[in-house]
Amino acid sequence: MQHSTGRILTFEILRFNPQNPQSKPKVVCYQLEETPGMSIFIALNEIREKQEPSLQFDFVCRAGICGSCAMVINGKPMLACRTQTKTFEHPKITLMPMPVFELIGDLSVNTGKAMREMAEKVETWVHDKRQDWVDITRLEEKMEPELADQIYELDRCIECGICLAACGTKRMREDFLGAVGFMKVARFLADPRDHREEDDFYDLLGNDKGVFGCMSLMGCEDFCPKELPHQQQIAYIRRKILFATG
């Protein structure tokens, strides 16, 4: 539902600075007048610049492509930069940091650290011993155009962390790899330049920390801002891993 502007919006925001020993978590309300085209990005900067200069949050591209600004908006994990305030019927908007990540302060969480750990676990790079001595003066190896498109489809993940914040299993199992990791596995399995096969991923995926921990609640698929095919890929990897066990 769309609303005319001029509404007074109330933002209920979790405030907590772990760097400050006196700081205790609390919810603080800030009010501002809605303007046309207002996004949570614009609103939070207004609040920081005019009302509460200590407010912590993360934005980089503010265009929905870098994955920095995911937070829990009215109970749902979303990219704040491309969430428009006019989409909320009620003028009260609650902002919380994403769960499952280390809290830096207020709405800022350390997704960078978690994603680096994930990348090291999954080894999110092409495994091909020849790649170091590819002669780059020569024509590149050919690839079927449809295959290149398929790899790109799976390569579109922006590591925003929303799939983990929306994941029932992740809330119960800290060591669950989660949809972001499965999508990386799918991406490299689809890529013939990577010489790893299904059984190379068995130790990583063939247990409750891996694909068999998934309860199929599909929060990942529901909230992924890039609309990646998580459900299909998780099912596909499960099948592959099962066959790999022989």
Partner: protein
Amino acid sequence: MKVVYTDSLVIGGGLAGLRVAIACKERGLDSIVLSLIPAKRSHSAAAQGGMQASLANSFKGLGDNEDVHFEDTVKGSDWGCDQKVARMFVHTAPKAIRQLAAWGVPWSRVTGGDRQVVVNAEKVTVTESQESHGLITARDFGGTKKWRTCYTSDGTGHSMLYAMDNRAIQEGIDIQDRKEAIALIHEGDQCYGAIVRDLITGELIAYVAKATTVATGGYGRLYSITTNAIICEGTGQALVLETGKAPLGNMEAVQFHPTAIVTVGILVTEGCRGDGGVLRDVDGYRFMPDYEPDKKELASRDVVSRRMTEHMRKGKGVPSPYGDHLWLDITLLGRAHIEKNLREVKDICESFLGIDPAEEWIPVRPTQHYSMGGIRTNEKGMSPGLKGLFSAGEAACWDLHGFNRLGGNSVAETVVAGMIIGEYVADYIDETDLYIPSGLIKEFLRQEQQKMDTLLHRPTGESAFAIRKEMQEIMMENVGIFRKGPHLEEAVNKLTLLLARARKVGVKTKQLGGNPELTEALKLEKQIKLALCVTVGAAKRTESRGAHAREDFPQRDDVHWLKRTLTYWETPADDLPTLAYEDLDISSMELPPGFRGYGKKNISPHPDTAKREAQVAQAQAAHADRHELQQALMPIELPSRYQGKNERYLKGLN
């Protein structure tokens, strides 16, 4: 006192910085990358449309090679670039694409057979040969003779950055995020590293290195309306400026991109026009052919932005509460093409405008986009002012782009410069023994700590946020697409007053760590100094060249202005920068200054141009082989591993 030692310190975790670190690591050197944010979130990811490299695989790219790419780049720069650098770049770009292919970038490929494309608003059938099926394809971009821009859908920068960062992780490179460099450690003519602030704890750390590379991107956020990510604040350039020894180059060279959406300034890629989209005015009329009958919407970016502004000044803009705009029409490309090749554009239109670009026109206007100027370096990427200080990518004025950058040459520069300069950084480290003056490090740490303490202890003072906003408005208003002497002078005066105010700002939040207000206040003075460098440079340059368009001096004046602006900030308390100039030497140019072919020719030619043209003609007659001719006209050096000729489909190594 916390001190970290390394061989190669890289400030900035985008494509250029990561590539330099990888080059050093491959040579067995210890390398640390510092980044404000997780590296994969860098602004490199925003490059949607593609990367130029003369692979010549697709039908519309046939006949392309280094020479054509070189000519397009030099013309695009309005002869302001360093031609040797442009040559080094075009020779290495195909290798960069192929290396990234080996590292996992899923470049879009040629499909053999017939396909429909839109050229000049008409559907045309192109037949790709079956032999090129599966090679890396390319799309059309502005200001290029051939279709040369390689891409992955419209997420090119994303795919490249992910492949690069993953490669860095594979190499075990130490990438430290949420770290901001706030000063360079230097003495005499030597750079020793940087003083760095941990943005989580607020703690200061000294990073001491044999070589320090600044790869922090551009300074678009000096402007209120920009396509740049919010981290592109020019702090890397400011660190270098504040040494008082190392110059910045051509800071007045600032590009405006024709198509950012209104109001928020988010970019929609040049690929929209490259793939056949057109610009329309308030009457729905396609106006670009009237101004540029030859290249139309695909003239160089600076030209299209100026033509759009001219047209809006004639009352042909579409009025909106946020000022006038024009329309970008991609509906003629068809839904299937948009949903496959321009999906980010569709996403952006849906999320930020609530429109479907397959059905509706996109409201766009020219918006600050790229910083051609930056940290001046030599061909090897090293600063002429401080040994051990390097720069690469948009942060640098290596000087590939002169006064205007071609679309698709930006991500290309980041990777290519990273490859080439990375080798030279490693060479420098191999050849250098550094004596580390620990007293100096301590002194630099003390100075920066004191600046922080002063800010925290000042009882009152203006808000840094408010002053920054004023600066951004001044730059937008007075130092934009079209410039005029009186407006520039006014901006200099206003910015000087702002600088004085910036030196007295206060912060309400009195804590070291987790304090965005303090982070902002600490870099405010730096940003205003940079804004002054841009503005003073623009005021002094009494000609029009590339993106620097003076209404009071519309002529390109090669007699007086075929030179590069160098800007210094001599002592910290100065109120204005000091300018110097270095000449571009016509007698060593492979492509003597000429006419770019847009609008009316209005050039005051340099007397040496005719002489050089004659020499070039003579050399062309003497050398049948294009590689020999190139070497005879303008010999270049490259790291040995990048010297080889580039193979092309049908052409082999010719």
